[in-house]
Symmetry: C2
Subunit: 150 residues, 2 copies
DNA sequence: GGTGAAAATTTCAACAA
DNA sequence: TTGTTGAAATTTTCACC
């Protein structure tokens, strides 16, 4: 299962865009019999290439009207500081992504809130209250011309 | 469908994490009969709250071993420059996300490549070759302690 | 919102290339 | 090993209560 052949790649392409099409439909699109298609999908799931399935929800319907990326710098690079920060972040529902990055700052967050007031609240009460955090740079998302992960 | 009740929110929570569970399983988890559950899901799909379904793939299995966020600044804020940049980006498979942001720079990209050499190639041959681009700041992702969109 | 039955799909064992 | 067939088990779907 080390390297994927063309059919399996085609299956992954289909499922990454249409995660809930029937196996019959999938088999038809990739040009396999339903059982051959199913066997490949099951193997891809079993081996972990397919990690799961997600419904993609409309942010607006979920009450999300404000998205920002935030660069966060810590006062020191100690493991304790990082762990404390990550622990605080893990409990914050507004933080959808937290990436540990190289460069002049330590973290890049993606934050999703209802609106600007709730973002301000998060910014001051949550981020601003963390003693490890020494710099915060907000990049408010005005639009996403491309977002394959949405 | 203006505001969602508790059951529908529960359905959305389940489907956003387990997008392919059977309707029987879903109905059981949220405490509805299969037909009531199905009716709600269909309505959520029809109204656009559920925009679709996706299989979540393992990046490593897909040959992705290098992820970075890139802040991009343009030389001018003209519509022509933005359109030219976005057009170039839309054709770059390495760019998974492109966000138009507020602040000192215009764009924040998420780029996924096989490895550092292929990233360097993208960085110089693609981004560096765009005449509109005047600043590039890479934030290489070393890890993602939290990533609800993965 | 629930029930029940028809239609469609998933799943798998046996077999073929 | 990978693909196919066919039939049983399961699920989806919908008219009706």
């Amino acid at each position: 299962m080390s390297t994927l052949d063309a059919k399996s790649e085609q299956i992954l392409r289909e499922l990454s865009r249409h995660g809930r099409i029937s196996n019959l439909e999938l088999a038809d699109r990739v040009g396999l019999s339903p059982s051959a298609s199913l066997r490949r999908v099951q193997e891809l799931e079993r081996s972990g290439v397919i990690k799961g399935y997600r419904a993609v929800l409309d942010p607006a319907a979920m009450g999300i009207g404000f998205v920002a990326y935030i660069g966060v710098g810590l006062g020191d690079h100690s493991k304790a500081s990082q762990e404390a920060f990550e622990r605080a972040i893990s409990g914050a529902p507004e933080v959808v992504e937290c990436h540990n990055i190289t460069g002049t700052i330590e973290y890049m967050l993606r934050v999703e809130c209802a609106d600007l007031p709730s973002y301000k609240r998060f910014h001051t009460d949550m981020l601003g209250a963390l003693p490890q955090v020494t710099s915060i740079t907000s990049y408010v998302v005005m639009g996403s011309p491309k977002d394959a992960r949405a």
